[in-house]
């Protein structure tokens, strides 16, 4: 039975490590949170299972591991490292996103800009903690609260940190309903939280068609680094709004985004093997990410309060928190926090405006980093 014993050496028996065991536990926690707590299940379940797949202890050389050139996982992972999985997900998101709330009330776009301050503060903080600039940029984008953007930028600037960055980004996005409410309540008075905003006016079909074209040309001309994200987002949105390409939009927001989500989640999870993931850097990234979310939320809320100094139709500052993006979770959080004071106050319709603006904002921020760091 030596042969059986020899054989067992290629698996757990011969490659046992506490690190892998810990990661298997983390994978199970992710799956548990996705299923039992309903936290972003479409991402946590695939990522969680991917963590299991990537942390089975095994001898290398069997053409199985995600970092072994030519293995199945490695081939599928190329969509992450080359960046086209996130782009295609943005295409699908564009084909789902309704910019009406934002178009109806364009001043709310500024809230989506303000909340991106978290990105650049985290960038500075990461530099302070000793990360080199490219890695600091990839870590900073966690504060953008946008999974595909974070994965895209990490894949371009710091592929070795991709797993840690993606896990941090999605973890905090899942924890948005835990993180944001205390910060919102801390920074607002009850009177502010009771502000009722007047219903948004309707938006013409024509404006909804012109918007993605115009917004793309504007953003891309100033921050061309964002083309690989915003080009796909606005293209998807044009397919949705044009009225003549509905079958393409439908496929983009159904089969296409589902297929890419499955593969992206699995691969991102599988890229977190213990030796790469269980490092001091990951702990720093986790802390910086948490800080980033808090700063972004605060920036959004405070900027809304600042705007209220100048405008006549007051903005409920709660919806500033939706500017971090994390679509649509943070908009829901705003609705929930508002409803605790006044159950008849339907903030979610307004919160969608900074929420989708925040997606554009973090993609522009990613473009700024890309433009600066890809030349090196």
């Amino acid at each position: 039975m030596d042969v059986v014993w020899d054989f067992l050496q290629v698996g757990l028996v011969g490659n046992f490590s506490w690190g892998n065991m810990a990661m298997l536990a983390i994978g199970c926690v992710f799956i548990y949170l996705g299923i039992a707590r309903d936290y972003e299940p479409l991402l946590l379940v695939p990522i969680g299972f991917g963590v299991l797949v990537g942390n089975i202890p095994l001898s290398s050389g069997m053409n199985i591991g995600i970092y072994e050139e030519g293995s199945v996982l490695n081939v599928l992972y190329s969509g992450v490292t080359q960046g086209w999985y996130p782009s295609l997900i943005f295409l699908g998101i564009g084909a789902m996103t309704d910019f009406s709330a934002m178009l109806a009330n364009p001043r709310l776009i500024l809230l989506g800009a303000a909340a991106q301050a978290g990105i650049f503060l985290t960038f500075a903080g990461s530099l302070l903690l000793g990360f080199p600039p490219q890695e600091a940029a990839a870590i900073g984008i966690i504060g953008g609260a946008d999974g595909p953007t974070a994965i895209f930028l990490a894949g371009q600037l710091a592929p070795h940190l991709l797993g840690a960055i993606a896990v941090a980004a999605y973890s905090y996005m899942a924890l948005v309903p835990v993180i944001q409410p205390p910060i919102i309540r801390l920074l607002t008075t009850r009177e502010e939280r009771l502000i009722r905003m007047k219903p948004s006016p309707p938006v013409s079909k024509r404006l909804r068609i012109i918007f993605p074209i115009l917004a793309f040309v504007l953003c891309a001309s100033i921050a061309p680094g964002a083309i690989s994200l915003l080009g796909f987002l606005f293209f998807g949105n044009l397919l949705k709004e044009s009225g003549v390409t509905e079958r393409l939009a439908k496929t983009a927001r159904n089969s296409m985004i589902d297929i890419v989500t499955i593969l992206l989640g699995l691969c991102v999870g599988a890229s977190t093997d213990a030796s790469r993931f269980l490092t001091p850097a990951s702990i720093k990234i986790a802390l910086l990410g948490a800080a980033s979310f808090c700063v972004a939320t605060a920036a959004g809320v405070l900027f809304a309060k600042l705007m209220n100094v100048f405008v006549k139709d007051k903005i409920n500052p709660i919806i500033g928190a939706a500017g971090v993006s994390a679509v649509p979770d943070s908009a829901r959080v705003c609705q929930m926090v508002g409803a605790q004071e006044d159950p008849q106050n339907f903030l979610i319709m307004h919160a969608m405006a900074p929420n989708v603006a925040g997606v554009i904002g973090s993609a522009v921020a990613a473009g700024v980093f890309l433009s600066r760091f890809m030349f090196n």
Partner: protein
């Protein structure tokens, strides 16, 4: 590992905030300007919608004849068109040839599927 923050990186952080803010402010401004025209566009779209609704029955008669004929050609009288499933929203602007051609084609497809 020590701090990597340099004057250049510090100013990049500040410039980044400004650029993101600038881009979104620009979009906000442009959308606000377009909103001035939006009332007129909405009126126009409402009128087109209403016109389409009024015209609907007439269009329907023409295409019904066409579909029946096309179907008759294919199935040679073995079936009868009992229900028309409108494949295009009547609100959509379209040139007559496209509307006509597409409905016939789709109509014939529907018939074929029934048979196979």
């Amino acid at each position: 590992m020590g701090s990597n923050i340099t004057p250049e990186m510090g100013s990049l952080a500040i410039a980044g905030v400004l650029i993101v803010f600038g881009v979104l402010a620009l979009i906000s401004l442009v959308v606000a300007l377009l909103k001035k025209l939006d009332g007129r566009w909405q009126d126009h779209e409402r009128r087109v919608d209403e016109a389409a609704m009024t015209k609907e029955p007439t269009i329907d008669n023409t295409t019904l004849v066409l579909i029946s004929a096309a179907a008759a050609t294919v199935v040679q009288g073995r079936f009868r068109v009992r229900r028309i499933h409108r494949l295009l929203s009547p609100k959509r602007k379209r040139t007559p040839w496209s509307a006509q051609g597409r409905l016939i084609l789709q109509g014939s497809h529907t018939v074929r599927r029934k048979r196979s």
